[in-house]
Symmetry: C2
Subunit: 369 residues, 2 copies
């Protein structure tokens, strides 16, 4: 019986301390790392039913269920819950906010214990393996040693891939949706424009905007508006908005008039309330550099892996397209890893991984069964 | 024998005066319109060998040949010249800067005779038909009544289409390359983000930046960097830059590091020297509203047209893709217009129309022969 989780809440765990700091791959030292996370379902007595869910670029720990006083369900509520593909009647689901984020987990706006001020651009550059290191510490904090599965879409999927590489014997199943093992030049190009918009905003103030009581909202809004176009497909935009506009006849305007313009304005504005510009910089940059199969030692690690992979792409996704999934599948298969791949049909572009195109949920459910 | 034009120069013509103002479709009245233009080749005695070339969004009158003291040839020098597809041994070629531009022809930074100050956002919103009206006046100024052909790519092609509609008996041949008869929602989406970047730049100052001694360079740079991605293909970016970067190993940077980032930085910066933000707003907006087949009366006009069309698209162009050309071709054919269409293979994306993919120049040359 499929249903929804009831009320859930975000908790916090401290996973790095001055005595046990997190050393980032870039040479940084984080002496206090806190993780915001949620859990759904119950850990069984064998402690072997844990499913770790990792979010995409601008996600947070609130993947499913409702927060008291709010109307909007978690960002993957259609995937996680009683009787759903990530079935909370069977699994103990862990969903943290990622390192570098801005929804409760330590990130560039956190206070640097050494200075008493926000890190800002003094926060160390992050590698995917640093995000995984925090996930591993959270898992240990919860007293869990093995994962029934890791599940993630987009940047979430890439964290799962990195985890399977970093700990080849911990994760039984890895579900990667709309992900990539290596961004293309075009992917990097879009990200660099987004960062340019943010960093060239006069209210960026070299990254120290919080201390100046401002924030680079203009640049952040532009970055999101542009990025949003790459998350959807031209078909979706045409079907949803076409060329409909609010003016009539020749009463044209320089400002927003077409419905697609008002939609992007809305996307850009609401993003300002829920996300931070510095986190956007750090997490997009992390994606640009991600290239685990180009990393010495990776091949050897995966060769001994016991993780089975399921990789899924969507035919209208042009942000991380099927060619990128196929390359990842070939890279995995070349190392002898067990990997099941499918491209599914969907008109919704990259955002398909958050929606329910035909066959998608069934496919994930089947792999986790 | 194929060669290049020698030195050429840009001239100017006044095509609207207080006694003969240009009334724009949006209700504006321009009492002084100057056009910058170049001509190549000789007008024959029958005055029937004129070919009108129209430029794309950020082009100018300097389509071919060399300006004294400069090293860079005109933007379409590979297409126009002795023995080239637009053969200056046979044709008298006219190439103007468009209305609303910023390279010599009247645009938003021109002085409003009524105020003695630049128009800025008081410049009337433009319709494609206003650009054509100026072209027609320039042609009359040159004492020419008929066109052997009109030739344009991208926005240039759309001007030719509009002209064929506005004057169905004047143009014998219309060459439209990488054009569209109607922008998609995605096209409009990219344009609105570009305008948002410019208009939200604090140095835009409500459009009156010139009077304040500043200009919205940050926004204009971001707009161009983003737009440039849409002019090329992911294949081009991958082949040209891939994931090459200037740092080595784990010496990562938040600022530009990958070669594709440096390339976009360069594209953005050089654009600031050669183009104006207000022209960018006016000309992108004009494109958004362009929809001649949705315009009452258009069908009737084209039904009586004597113009033969050649429409060409490129398979890697995702800015104005083949589907858009096909729709235009169907719209033309439905009105009984003679139209020849081909999709050519090229990996260069929208910019293919400025390059020489296999079969392209031969195709244009054949149609003009």
């Amino acid at each position: 019986m499929t249903g929804s989780l009831g009320y859930v809440e975000t908790r916090r765990a401290v996973v790095a301390t001055p005595q046990d700091p997190l050393l980032t791959r870039s040479g940084g030292r984080l002496e206090h790392v806190e993780v915001a996370y949620e859990t759904y379902g119950e850990l069984n007595t064998a402690r072997d039913n844990a499913v770790f869910v990792t979010h995409a670029l601008t996600g947070n720990a609130h993947a499913a269920g409702l927060h008291i006083g709010e109307k909007k369900r978690g960002w993957w509520d259609n995937m996680i819950g009683p009787g759903k593909p990530v079935d909370t009647d069977r699994f103990f689901v862990i969903s943290p906010n990622i390192l570098g984020g801005c929804s409760g987990t330590t990130g560039p706006l956190s206070v640097d214990p050494a200075t008493g001020k926000p890190y800002c651009l003094d926060f160390p550059l992050l590698h995917m393996t640093d995000l995984v290191a925090v996930h591993r510490r959270l898992l240990a904090h919860l007293g869990i040693e093995r994962l029934y599965a890791g599940v993630g879409g987009s940047l979430g999927g890439m964290q799962i891939l990195q985890w399977a590489i970093d700990e080849p014997q911990v994760m039984d199943r890895a579900v990667l949706v709309a992900a990539s093992s290596r961004l293309t030049a075009e992917n990097i190009a879009f990200s660099t424009v987004a960062r340019e918009a943010i960093m060239s905003d006069p209210d960026f103030v070299g990254g120290r905007y919080v201390e100046h009581g401002v924030f680079p909202w203009r640049g952040q809004k532009v970055a999101r508006m542009m990025a949003h176009i790459t998350y959807v497909s031209d078909t979706t935009l045409d079907e949803k908005f076409g060329r409909r506009r609010r003016s009539t006849g020749d009463a044209w305007e320089m400002g927003p008039d077409f419905e697609v313009e008002h939609y992007l304005q809305h996307q850009g504005m609401t993003f300002l309330d829920r996300f931070d510009a510095l986190s956007y910089l750090y997490l997009t940059r992390l994606l640009d550099y991600f290239d685990p199969f180009g990393d010495p030692g990776t091949a050897e690690a995966l060769g001994s892996s016991s993780t089975r992979f399921q990789v899924t792409s969507f035919d209208s996704d042009w942000r991380f397209d099927t060619a990128q999934s196929r390359r990842m599948v070939e890279q995995l298969a070349a190392l002898g890893v067990d990997v099941d791949f499918a491209e599914l049909h969907s008109t919704y572009g990259h955002d398909s991984f958050l929606l329910e195109p035909a066959g998608y949920h069934e496919r994930v459910a089947g792999f986790l069964a």
